[in-house]
Amino acid sequence: MKTMRREPNVIPGFGITLGFTTFFLCAIVLLPLSALVLKAAGMDFARFVDVITSPRALASYRLSFGAALVAACVNMVFGFALAWTLVRYDFPGRKFIDAVIDMPFALPTAVSGIALTTVFAGNGWIGQYLEPLGIQVAYTWIGITVALTLIGMPFVVRTVQPAILEVQRDLEDAAETLGAGRFYVFRRIIVPTVLPALLTGFTLAFARAVGEYGSVIFIAGNMPMKTEITPLLIVIRLEEFDYAGAAALGCVMLAISFVMLLAINLIQVWGRRRMMVSR
């Protein structure tokens, strides 16, 4: 295929489309991003380190990462269950549920933020039952985790779903005729087959959750050192007109984004190599 396309191509428009795409990308992505990096680079290094390792910043990393990690783990379990249910079982409303999974993609984050806060507040529909159990959700890290779980859920379900669909029924049948029980088949055949997709979904959900802002700030309570996420800290720095400080924290976030992108790519390469889908 590749060699075919390298041959003289009769399709027109290469120059103009490439030019336009590159221009657009440079203007919208590269230029602003380089502004961020250069702004941070313009700082005194010691001050840079100082800003990004201040106790308040460290606390915010811990919260952002911790909550995102817990949320991604929760999603890995429930997202798998959801994807499995949607693929393998037929029940009334299955198609509806399948469509609704994408809701967090389409729902503005501010809306999910205030809505979750209302539901999980001490007097909210769900919060009122959790409060007596000593579980306070709104304005604690649990609330942040709940919001991040909602944001990440479709990523896990939508990556795992096709993978489960592709587990050939024949594989399970083959394992069964070879003497394996249901749970053994699940553990040794299904989970390993779905694993790359599950990890990809996990990483996507995690990456999205680390940077999430809109849905979190309403439910977080935003107490410095306690329930203040890193993106919020950037906003606060900006409001204090501390552009350099904001840029330094922004750089940290950007670096994390790059690491996540890299991780996703590595997982996919690993998954492909493991399955050796050489078709």
């Binding site: 336009f20 269950a81 079982y89 503005p108 940077g211």
Partner: protein, 290 residues
């Protein structure tokens, strides 16, 4: 070929298997379905219901009254203007990028794809921040812009730029794999038959990618209207002037004007529902996401 073809036949075969433990598998099945539904219910259904419940808490009159507020109207107008500028631009970009990437081989292609994907991984706050750093008072172009009395940050252009940054991958990401999968054969056939580039695009390519395009555009639109973090950083939150609907929700919410906040939120929720409906219809029409 071998074995059952569809869901019903499959479950019929499974339950007919000798030694099949119907009781256990029924329990597992309903357990999983229940867990899934409870999970979705708590996370998705309850909050959505809450939006409408709070918005209508004081009756329909109060609900519609919320939209009479001039600031709310200004926010709706601003959101519509932003979407009206951003969505066509990003659609154009998406088509061009997809054409360039799917139809040609060139060096640096994968780098280009990575750049297109980048905004999806960047925190929305960072997305806003970079424009502030570029066009803000202390930014690269800040002084020059002030001399010429042009305001970008804390004004409409900034909002549009930030929204564009956040939403521009959507159309391109939908179209690139689709066009790669469809291949070049039909376009090449059209061109060898004497069709020009535009004719080929409109008569051959466009009809084949239309569902993917619709899909990308509605997603792009939903994100453009609902973007909060990036816009919040660049808008300056000047009430009635630079607040889009999501920002206006925040203001109303912080003022404890819950009916107003949730009324606006309910509109955005309806937008999300409509988006999902269109998405489902597109998928019904045979379009499959990869």
């Amino acid at each position: 070929m071998a074995g059952p073809a569809n869901h019903t036949e499959l479950s019929a075969e499974l339950s007919s298997r000798p030694g099949h433990n119907t009781w256990t598998s029924t329990v597992v099945r309903w357990l999983l379905i229940t867990v899934s539904l409870v999970f979705l219910g708590a996370l998705l259904a309850a909050p959505l219901a809450a939006v409408f419940s709070v918005a209508l808490e004081k009756g329909w009159e109060a609900y519609f009254g919320a939209f009479a507020d001039p600031d709310t109207r200004a926010a709706i107008r601003l959101t519509l203007i932003t979407a009206a500028v951003v969505v066509p631009l990003n659609t154009l970009f998406g088509i061009t990028a997809a054409w360039c990437i799917a139809k040609f081989e060139f060096k640096g292609k994968s780098f280009l794809i990575t750049l297109i994907d980048l905004p999806l991984a960047v925190s929305p706050v960072v997305s806003g921040l970079i424009y502030v750093l570029l066009f803000g008072l202390n930014g690269w172009f800040g002084a020059w812009l002030q001399d010429h009395d042009i305001s970008i940050v804390y004004a409409l252009p900034g909002i549009i730029l930030a929204t564009m940054f956040v939403t521009f991958p959507y159309v391109a990401r939908e179209l690139i794999p689709l066009m790669q999968q469809l291949g070049n054969d039909e376009e090449e056939a059209a061109i060898t038959l004497g069709a020009g580039g535009w004719l080929t695009f409109f008569r051959v390519t466009l009809p084949r990618i239309r569902w993917g395009l619709v899909y990308g555009v509605i997603l792009c639109n939903a994100r453009a209207m609902g973007e909060f973090g990036a816009v919040s950083v660049v808008s300056g939150n000047i009430r009635g002037l630079t607040t889009t609907m999501p920002l206006h929700i925040e203001i109303l919410y912080n003022e404890y004007n819950f009916v107003g906040a949730f009324a606006v939120a309910s509109m955005l929720s309806l937008l999300a529902v409509v988006t999902l409906i269109i998405k489902t219809l597109v998928e019904r029409s045979g379009y499959r996401r990869r």
